[in-house]
């Protein structure tokens, strides 16, 4: 099979999935692109603040090496260094490409790209399009993919949900099984290779800054089929979000990048605690540091705004042009959802679950998972952020990973002695049958449990015990609770028995996978007796490189119905680990 036209399945049409699709289609191969929402409505639209690349357009002496060093240091040395270095080197070219595609980045008076500061760096390294950078980036890629679609090299399957991989007798991935979210038809689709780009897992924590579709259900299904899940315990809690009943809406770090200040009243006077505690970085310390500081101020010092779980994020002193031209998009969110004008009154914010550094394990070269023929890119994989992600580094990792995964999948397709067509049809039929049986069982369940109630209980448990501060006894309790919920899940019954666009049914199906993945996060945290990046255990307050400078790998043990953890060394060949102090 030399260079025939490959057929690749891409699951997910956020930045990572679209970047992969574009790369494959451009080379004349065919992509079947699956997404639960129309790809233009993917979660990536939510990204606000910007995308990092060391273009050094401000005369500060920034370099891709500094970007690399900040990323490794910010991630507390848990990221494999070679791939991160390649990403940082590719970033300036990615910005150029996006610029050529028509992204409306903000400009300097000379007509060059403008850059802002973000957390965890001293350089102006973040390109941005107002405060709606993710939307602009996603649209640019969506438009390129629409062009390929019009030319016939991309077939979109929107409103289709990935249920599982189709694995052949040798354990290689030969396609996927998916469900139409309208007719509820369950069908299989063959492919030479499959790329997962299904994004984050916010729903496991109940409420987060993520979109509704970020359930992690697809990653979990694959983990239960044998894909390895890495560093699941590393969960980023963003310091500044607006509490809400349906969602915790992010107030981007760009608010602080443009000069916003965090404070509370102490003895009747504003106290800028981040500036006092971290004079060098001030309000722009990395997220894990800022989040813990806010928790300390609110819970230990009891200084939350009006006795509540909130601190002020203040942009009232910024000039009107900065407020409108650079932050308009996010200030609008506050105004629309809270009703106050943040140009005039300080915003009330509190930390919220935001991002998963962990994800499907992939190799360091090709975005390949441990299942042959299965690749992953974007937030659903674990490679680029170590123990804590720096702001504005995700968008670049999504696009970089996608642009790597696409060609790697094609190369894999060409290395196969036989294409997907050679897979015995029985392999597909068996997987389809397995998934239809899961559906039927769920419909026939006659218990008393309400799926939304189980979900709320899971969210509460995870948020309380598996986010900012972790304690082994409480983690054990959380895992016991998750097991109880899995047990109660068997008693779940569906008020809605219709077999057409049944959203309660879809949600209930995803809930099972969420519970399984929640255990990976929890048990990974339990086993890691140290503090590193976003993972903080007061009983083990120091980073422990002797015992824990290693990647956690979770494998599902089907007989025991739970994760088994193993570890692998981290590549630290380029920068020697040093203490992380800001």
């Amino acid at each position: 099979m030399a260079t025939h036209k490959a057929n690749i399945i891409v699951v997910g049409g956020g930045l990572a999935g679209l970047a992969a699709t574009m790369k494959i289609a451009e080379k004349g191969h065919h992509v079947d692109l699956f997404s639960v929402v129309p790809v233009k409505r993917s979660h990536s639209v939510c990204a606000q603040g910007g995308i990092n690349a060391a273009k050094n357009l401000k005369g500060e002496g920034d370099s891709t090496w500094s970007h690399f060093d900040d990323t490794i240091f910010g991630g507390d040395f848990l990221a494999n260094q070679a791939p991160v270095k390649r990403m940082c080197e590719a970033a300036p070219g990615i910005i150029d490409l996006l610029d050529r595609m028509g992204v409306q980045f903000n400009r300097t008076p000379e007509g060059l790209l403008d850059f802002r500061r973000f957390g965890g760096t001293l350089f102006h390294r973040t390109a941005f399009a107002g405060a709606t950078t993710g939307q602009q980036l996603l649209y640019a890629l969506d438009e390129q993919v629409r062009r390929h679609e019009a030319e016939g090299s991309v077939s979109k399957h929107e409103h289709w949900e990935f249920l599982s991989g189709v694995l052949d007798g040798n354990g290689a991935c030969r396609g996927i099984c998916a469900m139409d979210l309208r007719s509820m038809t369950v069908a299989t689709f063959p492919a030479d290779a499959v790329i997962m780009a299904t994004g984050g897992i916010g729903a496991i924590f109940g409420k987060s800054t993520n979109s509704i579709a970020c359930t992690g259900s697809a990653q979990s299904a694959l983990y239960q089929q044998g894909a390895c899940y890495a560093n699941g315990e590393f969960i980023q809690v963003h310091p500044t979000a607006i509490p809400g009943e349906d969602k915790l809406r992010l107030m981007s770090e760009s608010a602080r990048g443009e000069g916003g200040r965090v404070w509370v009243y102490r003895e009747g006077k504003p106290w800028y605690f981040l500036e006092e505690w971290y004079p060098k970085y001030g309000n722009l310390v990395p997220r894990d540091v800022a989040t813990r500081a806010i928790h300390k101020v609110v819970f230990e010092l009891g200084l939350g705004v009006e006795g509540q779980d909130a601190v002020y994020l203040d942009v009232t002193h910024l000039d009107r042009h900065t407020q409108d031209a650079k932050l308009g998009g996010i200030l609008e969110i506050y105004e629309k959802f809270v009703g106050d004008d943040p140009r005039k009154v300080p915003m009330r914010v509190f930390p919220a679950m935001h991002y998963t550094m962990g994800g499907l394990w992939i190799d360091t070269e090709r975005q390949a998972t441990n299942i042959p023929g299965l690749f992953a890119a974007g937030e659903c994989e674990y490679q680029y952020h170590g123990a804590n992600r720096l702001g504005a580094n995700s968008l670049v990792s999504c696009i970089f990973g996608g642009m790597l995964a696409g060609p790697a999948a094609v190369e894999y397709a060409h290395s196969l002695p036989q294409g997907a067509a050679a897979t015995p049809s029985g392999v597909f039929e068996a997987e389809q049958k397995r998934q239809i049986e899961i559906n039927d069982r769920l419909f026939h369940n006659l218990g008393r449990e309400n799926p939304f109630v189980l979900w709320k209980e899971m969210g509460r448990t995870m948020t309380e015990h598996v986010t900012v501060s972790r304690d082994n006894a409480k983690l054990r309790g959380a895992d016991a609770k998750l097991q109880e919920l899995l047990e109660r899940y068997r008693q779940v019954s569906l008020a809605d028995q219709t077999r057409w666009a049944n959203q309660t049914f879809f949600f209930t199906r995803q809930l099972f996978n969420m519970l399984q993945l929640a255990r990976v996060v929890t048990l990974g945290a339990l086993a890691r007796d140290e503090s590193r990046g976003a993972h903080y255990k007061p009983a083990f307050p120091e980073r422990d490189d002797v015992n824990f400078l290693k990647t956690t790998k979770a494998h599902f043990a089907p007989d025991a119905d739970e994760p088994r953890l193993s570890y692998e060394p981290v590549d630290t060949s380029l920068i020697t680990p040093r203490a992380r102090k800001y």
Binding site: K40, Q104, I212
Partner: protein, 265 residues
């Protein structure tokens, strides 16, 4: 800790509650029915919160068990464009529509209907594929040579960026199409959102190179001449996109294009 009911929102017998009246349809060809619900009022709640309450406890005001209401939503911060629906007679994003704002009098019901210009999938969820297909029709993209490294993009003045950026914020929600008297199957009109995208791409230095293709697409059936200047579109756009300006500007571009074409023969 087991009975499902012990965690569901308490039935709003006392205290303030929000009354909802929802237009429902089990499937595209199923009959339409109306159902009434009551959920507890909380200050600052949006329409999605009310729909979540119903999903958790799908029982009508009359006490009849029913199914959760189907609707589209993803971002919950008015940026993905999924959740547009007709709320008390006007298309709005359900996620950013606060009950306090649209329903100052809680004695009045909150009436939810699906967008009427698109086929209903189920209840409040509609199929807006046509909108995406129309973006294809007008080639709403920048035709780059390839994704390999070709250096920086064209320079752009701050003023141009500040003019183009607002246009690039269209979330494809369809609100502007819902209120457009000309947007229907018969005319095939592409509508304000798509015309405004043509303006955006024609503004870009590279996009301008094939502006004629986009303008050509707007000369045929369903093109810009279908616009009846009702000017409703601009009033309902959640992103404040200057749609009527876009229509006027693109209208002039199309005119110049067709005149040029006839001169060239």
């Amino acid at each position: 800790m087991s009975a499902a009911t012990s965690h569901a929102p308490t039935p709003p017998l006392r205290g303030r509650s929000v009354r909802l009246r929802i237009k429902r349809q089990a499937a595209p060809d199923a009959p339409v029915r109306w159902e009434d619900f009551e959920v507890p009022y909380r200050p600052g709640m949006n329409v999605i919160v009310a729909l979540l309450d119903i999903a958790e406890r799908p029982v009508t005001t009359q006490g009849a068990p029913t199914s959760g209401v189907a609707y589209d939503a993803n971002c919950l911060e008015e940026i993905c464009g999924s959740c547009a629906m007709v709320i008390n007679g006007r298309p709005r994003p359900a996620c950013s529509t606060l009950i306090d704002k649209v329903l100052p009098d809680l004695n009045q019901p909150l009436v939810l209907e699906p967008l009427s210009k698109f086929p209903v999938v189920r209840d409040l969820a509609v199929n807006r594929e046509r909108l995406f297909n129309d973006l294809k029709r007008v080639k709403a993209w920048i035709p780059i040579d390839g994704t390999y490294d070709l250096g920086a993009g064209p320079r752009e003045g701050q003023a141009t960026q500040e003019a183009a950026y607002p246009l690039s914020r269209c979330i494809s929600c369809g609100n502007c199409l819902e209120v457009c008297p000309q947007y229907n199957e018969d005319t095939g009109f592409v509508g304000a959102a798509v015309i405004s995208q043509v303006r955006l791409f024609n503004l870009h230095p590279t996009g301008a190179l094939n502006a004629h293709e986009r303008l050509e697409a707007l000369t045929g059936p369903g093109g810009i001449q279908q616009c009846g200047f009702a000017q409703n579109c601009v009033k309902v756009c959640p992103k404040d996109i200057p749609l009527t300006d876009s229509i006027a500007i693109v209208g002039r571009q199309v005119l110049a294009h067709t005149v040029g074409r006839s001169v060239r023969g």
